[in-house]
Amino acid sequence: MGVTSAMLKETTAGEPCRYRVLVVDDDEGCAKTLTWIMEMLGHDAQFALDGQSAIGLARTFHPQVVLLDIGLPGMNGYEICQAMRILPALQHTVFIAQTGWGKKEHLERAKNAGFDHHLVKPINLDALKTILVDMGKSRFSK
C-alpha cells in the first residue's frame, strides 16, 4: 500500500499519520469503541464482526492497520491474519493482535501467524499510539 501523499504531508508537518484502520472483534461493543478511539486519534476506521466480512471489507477498504481479535467464531484471528497477508493491497499493512491472552505461547503463535504486534486487553492506549507513531517514523524514513 505504501505511503499516500496526504500521509506524508501530515507527517512532515509534525502531525501523526492518518491511517485506514480495520478493527475486527466479534464483540460489537469492543469493535465499535475501538473504531471510535481510532477516529478520535485522527484515523479513518471501520469495523467487522467476523473473519469473512473482515476479509471482504479489507479488499475494498485497503487498511494500513488491522486490529484483530483472536478468539472469533468460525475463522480465528490467526487464520484471518494469514488470509489477509496474501492480499496484494495489504502487503505493507501492520497487523496488531488484541486478545485476552498474554502468555508467551500466545505471543509466539501470533508472531508465527504474521502479526507485527500483540496487545493484551484491556488495551493500553499509549502502547497502541506508540505503535502507530513508530509506523509513521519508519515509513517516513523510507
Binding site: T33, G71, Y78, E79
Partner: protein, 398 residues
Amino acid sequence: MEKISKKLASSKHGKEQDSTANQGVRLSEFIHQNEKQIVSEWETFARTLTPAANDMTPLALRNHINEILAFIVNDIESSQTDEEQIQKSQGGKEKSSISTAAEIHAALRLAGGFEIDQLVSEWRALRASIVRLWSVANIHMDNADVIDLTRFNEAIDQELAESVCHYTQKVSYSKDLFIGILSHDLRSPLNVISLSTRLMLDTNVSQERQTALAKQISESTSRVTKIVDDLLDITRARFGSGLPVIRAPMDMGVVAEQLVNEIRAAHFDRTINLEVAGELKGAWDKARIGQMLSNLIGNAVQYSFKDSPIYVTVKGTKDDVILSVHNKGVPISPEKIGTLFDALTRASIDEGDHPGSVNLGLGLYITEEIVISHGGRIEVVSTEKEGTTFTVHFPWSV
C-alpha cells in the same frame, strides 16, 4: 474363602521357597491367581465412594486395576538390590514406564469427580484386601513372606505416590487454566469499559456517542458482575452444600416468557421465538430457573450466527417439563462437549477454536447444578447441520 488357590509357589521363587520350607503360596503368585476376586472386592469398595463412582463403568475401573496389579506382581518378583529398596522406600526410585497405570488411574478418578481422600482410600482398600486374603490363605509366614510383604507395601506406596502426585498436578493445571480463562473473560468487558471511559473524556465526542458509550460501560459492568456472581455460585456448589434451591409454586411458561422478553429487549436485532405448550405449573425455584434460562438463551445469542433465529420451547408432558433452547451456529467440537458443563476440569482451551470462554463454562456449570438440584437432567446436541440444542428435563416427581 474356599475359592482361594493354595498352590505352591512358582519355580521363579522355588529355591528360596524350598529352603524355608514354606507350605503356603508366595504373594506375587497369590495375587496373580486371585486377581478376579481382588478386583471384585476392590470394585465393590470403589462403588461405595459415591456419588462420583456412579459414573464409572465397570470396564473403566477394571482395566486399570489389572495393569496396576500386574505392576505390583512384577515388582515383587523382580530382584531388588538393597540400595534400590532403600531408595524406593524413601520415594527416590526412578519412574518406570509400566507404572503409568497409576497415573491413568489418577486422571480417570479426577475426571470422575473423586476427591483426593477417596483416591487414597482406594489404595488403602487394595492393600488391605490383598493382605487379608493372602494371610488367610497363608497362615504361617516365613522370612521370604516378610520380604514379599515389604516389597508389596513398597510397590503399593510407589503407585499411591504416583497416583497422588499426578492427581495434584492435574488439579493444579486445571486451576491455572481456569484462572487463565477467567482473567481472559474479564479482560473483554474491562477493555470496553476502559476504552469507552477514555472516549467519554474526549470533549469532541457527540452526544449520541456519549449515550452509546455510557450504555456500553453499563453493559460491560453487568458482564463483569455476572462473572463474579457465577464464581460465587460455583464456590458454593463445589465447596459448600450445593446450590440452595427454594421451591415455590410457579409457572414455567410465564417465567420463560419474562426471560425471553428481557433478552429480546437487550438484543432487539435478534429473533427469539418462544413456544409454550401443556401443563407448566409446578414448584421450582423461580430465580434459579430464570438464571438457567438466561444462561442458555444468553449462550445461544452469543454463539449463534447473527442473522439466525433462536428457538425456545417449553413443553409440559405427562412425566416432565421439557425446556429446550436451539440455535444455528458453529458447532461445539466433540472433544469439548464431554466436559462442557464442568468449567474446572475442562481439559484444554484453545483460543483458536470456538471462543474458549469462562462465561460459557461457568454459566453451563451453574446451569447443570440448577438442573440437578431440581432433580432434572440436561443434554446438549451440536452439529454443523442441525445447530446446537440444549434440552432440560424436569420430572414432575423427584
